[in-house]
């Protein structure tokens, strides 16, 4: 198999693996939040353990990368962490102020936000086609329907 094909297959496996993990963790998080901690505290503990586990498992990669990492890349990655935490925090604030039946479908639209931002900021890196945009809209609509009905 060509390296490019292999990367694409690996990319799809990773994306579906990530979706399955996020799907399962929703159920685990419900258990933790219902029985043990407020949501933000649960997230804080979870992220600390995640950092320790990843640091332990990939210490060689991390150490190697630190020797060649550019300041710009470092800033972008740190911002990715900040915006992820921003998302989680506002998700919980929204839940504190209203029903999940409103919050879940709206927050499920994040792939569309990514599409718009890709179009604006990643024009030179990534090609957006009509097919990808339409496919994303269908996926988001499907998720919004499921999220609305589940709650």
């Amino acid at each position: 198999m060509k390296a490019l094909d292999r990367n694409i297959v690996l990319g799809y496996i990773s994306a579906f693996g990530s979706a399955v993990s996020y799907g399962i963790v929703t159920l685990v998080a419900q258990k933790i939040i219902n029985d043990y901690f407020p949501p933000v505290v649960a997230s804080a503990f979870s992220i600390i353990f995640g950092m320790l586990i990843l640091g332990f498992l990939f210490i060689k990669d991390i150490f190697k990368d630190f020797q060649k990492i550019s300041f710009k890349s470092l800033m972008w990655v740190l911002l990715a962490g900040v915006s992820g935490a921003w998302g989680v925090t506002f998700w919980f604030i929204a839940l504190n102020n209203g029903p999940i039946v409103i919050v879940a479908p709206i927050s499920a639209t994040f792939p569309l936000v990514s599409l718009v931002l890709t179009f604006v900021f990643l024009k030179k890196i990534e090609r957006l086609t009509f097919r990808i945009v339409l496919g994303s809209v269908f996926v988001v609509l499907g998720v919004v329907i499921i999220a609305s009905m589940n709650n």
Partner: protein, 140 residues
């Protein structure tokens, strides 16, 4: 109305994260990118927890500890690390669209393992997701 604004801000946060990571993974592996994003994210969540929930920052027993480890493994090793890997390999648009289907997997689990039943809207939503995914995946 305010709840809509907060939910939209959450969506913007999740959506923006993929753009930042795509820009950041130029000079590092996704393992390092995931680790560094956890460092900056944890600083924010720990600060919020210390300000608003300082009395609840105690892990009472081994059971709680086990649940938190499981949550961390699924959320950050399975979820975020694979998320960033796929954004790096497939691009933001395809990767976030696939990752956005996570509620479908939660629903499938709730139906197969839990006591929830398959309703017509859930079936309709599932078909729309599959159709959308086929469009995204079949694009060369």
């Amino acid at each position: 109305m305010i709840v809509v604004v907060f939910a939209l801000l959450a969506s913007v946060g999740f959506g923006t994260s993929a753009i930042f990571i795509k820009l950041g993974l130029n000079s590092m592996k996704s393992t390092t990118g995931t680790f560094l994003s956890l460092v900056s994210g944890s600083l924010i969540l720990i600060t919020i927890s210390l300000i608003f929930y300082s009395k609840e920052l105690v892990i009472a027993n081994k059971t709680v500890f086990s649940w938190l480890i499981l949550s961390a493994l699924l959320n950050f090793l399975g979820g975020r690390y694979l998320n960033y890997t796929s954004v790096n390999l497939l691009g933001v648009a395809r990767a976030t669209t696939i990752i956005g289907t996570a509620p479908l997997f939660a629903t499938v689990l709730a139906i197969t393992i839990g006591n929830e039943t398959l309703t017509l809207p859930v079936l309709l939503g599932t078909l729309m997701i599959i159709f959308g995914l086929l469009m995204v995946i079949s694009e060369k």
